[in-house]
Amino acid sequence: MRNCEEIDLKGFLFGEAEGAERERVSAHVRACPDCREEMERLQLTQMALGALREEEPPRRIAFVSDKIFEPRWWQRWLVPGPVAGFASAAVVAAAILAHGAMMRPATPQTPPSAVNAARIEQRLQEGFDGKLRAAIAQAVAEVRSQDKKERDDLLLAAEKHFSEQRRMDLAAFEINYENLYKRTALDRKIAYSSQQMGPAGDGVTQ
C-alpha cells in the first residue's frame, strides 16, 4: 500500500487522476480508513459547492456590424482577405443588449480603434429619440392643421349663415318699410280727401 501522503485525493476527486493512477488511488481509499474519511469530507464539500447555481446574465451580449466603418469595395481589393475581415472586426460595434435590457448602460473599456458599445447604444437611442420627436411633432402639426381647417370651415359657415340671415332680415325690413310707406301714403290721401269734403265728410269717415 502506498503512503497516504502520496495519495492525491483532491486531484482524484476532481478528475485529474486517470487510468492506472485512478485505480491505485481508488484501491488505497478502500483500504485506508483515514483516507476514506477524508474522501468522504471532500465529497461532502464537492456536493455543497454544487448547491451554488449558475445565474443567467442580466442582459444578453451581442455584436452588430457597423456599416459606416466597414471597408469599401475598393478597399477590400487592396487589403488581403483575413486582414479585411479583421478591419471590419476592429470596427464592429460592441455589445448592444438584446432582451431585458434597459438597465444602466454598459461602459466597456475598449481600445480607440473599436467602437464603444455604450456610444453605439447612445447613438441608436439618440437616433430613435430624434425620430420619435420628429414623429410626435409631425402628428401634433397634423392635428393642429386639421383643427384649424375645421375651425375655419365652421367660421365660414357661421358667417355665411349670418350673412344670409342679415340679407333676409333686410329684405323683410324693406318689404315692411314699403308696406308701411304705402299705408302711410294711403292714410294721407284719405285724410286729405276728408279735409276737401268738409264737415259732412266727417260723418262719412266715422
Binding site: T45, E54, R60
Partner: protein, 181 residues
C-alpha cells in the same frame, strides 16, 4: 463535447472572416459561463456583465491571435482572468488576502438555499487567487494544465492554491453538507 468543439472551431473560422453572426452564436454559447465565472470572482453583477462585454469584444478583436481554435475556452478564460484581475487590482491593494474564519451560525441543519448561501459565504472568504482556482476547477471543469495557461503560472502553483482553498472549504462546508443530508 467533441461535436461542440468542432462547431466552435467552425464558428471561430467564420468569425475570423468577419462573420459577426457566427461570433454572436459563439458568444451565446459562452456568455453564461464567463458571466458566472466573473460574477463569483468580482462579486458584483454589473461589474461582471461589464467585464463580460469587454472580454467578448477583446476576444473578437484578437481572434486572429488565437493559434489553436481548440484552445478557445482556455484562451477566452485567460482574457476574462486578465480583465477581472485588472479591475480587482484597482479596487484592492496588491497581495491582499481575505481569508476569514467561519462564523458559528454556519452549522446545524441547512436547507438548499441556506446551503447555497453558505457556499457563497465560504467562497467569499477565500483569497481572489484561491477562489479563482476553485471556480476554474470545480465550476468550469478545467484541467490543471489548462488552468496553468489561463492563469499563466505553473501547475504546482495552481495545485497549491486549489488544495489550500479546498481545505478551507472542507472545514466550513463538510459539516454543513453532512447536516443538510
Amino acid at each position: 463535447m467533441i461535436f461542440r468543439e468542432v462547431e466552435d472551431r467552425d464558428l471561430i473560422a467564420k468569425a475570423r472572416r468577419g462573420d459577426v453572426e457566427a461570433y454572436n452564436l459563439l458568444v451565446s454559447r459562452w456568455e453564461k459561463r464567463i458571466f458566472n465565472y466573473l460574477l463569483r470572482l468580482v462579486r458584483n453583477r454589473e461589474d461582471a456583465l461589464d467585464i463580460s462585454q469587454d472580454v467578448f469584444l477583446k476576444a473578437y478583436q484578437n481572434l486572429k491571435k488565437l493559434d489553436d481554435p481548440d484552445r478557445f475556452s482556455s484562451w477566452l478564460f485567460r482574457i476574462a482572468h486578465n480583465e477581472a484581475f485588472s479591475m480587482l487590482r484597482k479596487l484592492k491593494p496588491e497581495g491582499e488576502i481575505t481569508v476569514e474564519p467561519a462564523t458559528s451560525e454556519e452549522s446545524g441543519r441547512m436547507y438548499p438555499i441556506e446551503l447555497s448561501l453558505a457556499v457563497d459565504g465560504a467562497l467569499k472568504r477565500l483569497s481572489d487567487d484561491q477562489r479563482e482556482a476553485v471556480l476554474l476547477k470545480v465550476y468550469q471543469g478545467f484541467k490543471f494544465d489548462e488552468m496553468a495557461q489561463i492563469l499563466d503560472c505553473p501547475v504546482s502553483t495552481i495545485k497549491s492554491r486549489l488544495y489550500t482553498a479546498l481545505d478551507l472549504l472542507r472545514d466550513t462546508l463538510a459539516p454543513i453538507a453532512r447536516g443538510a443530508q
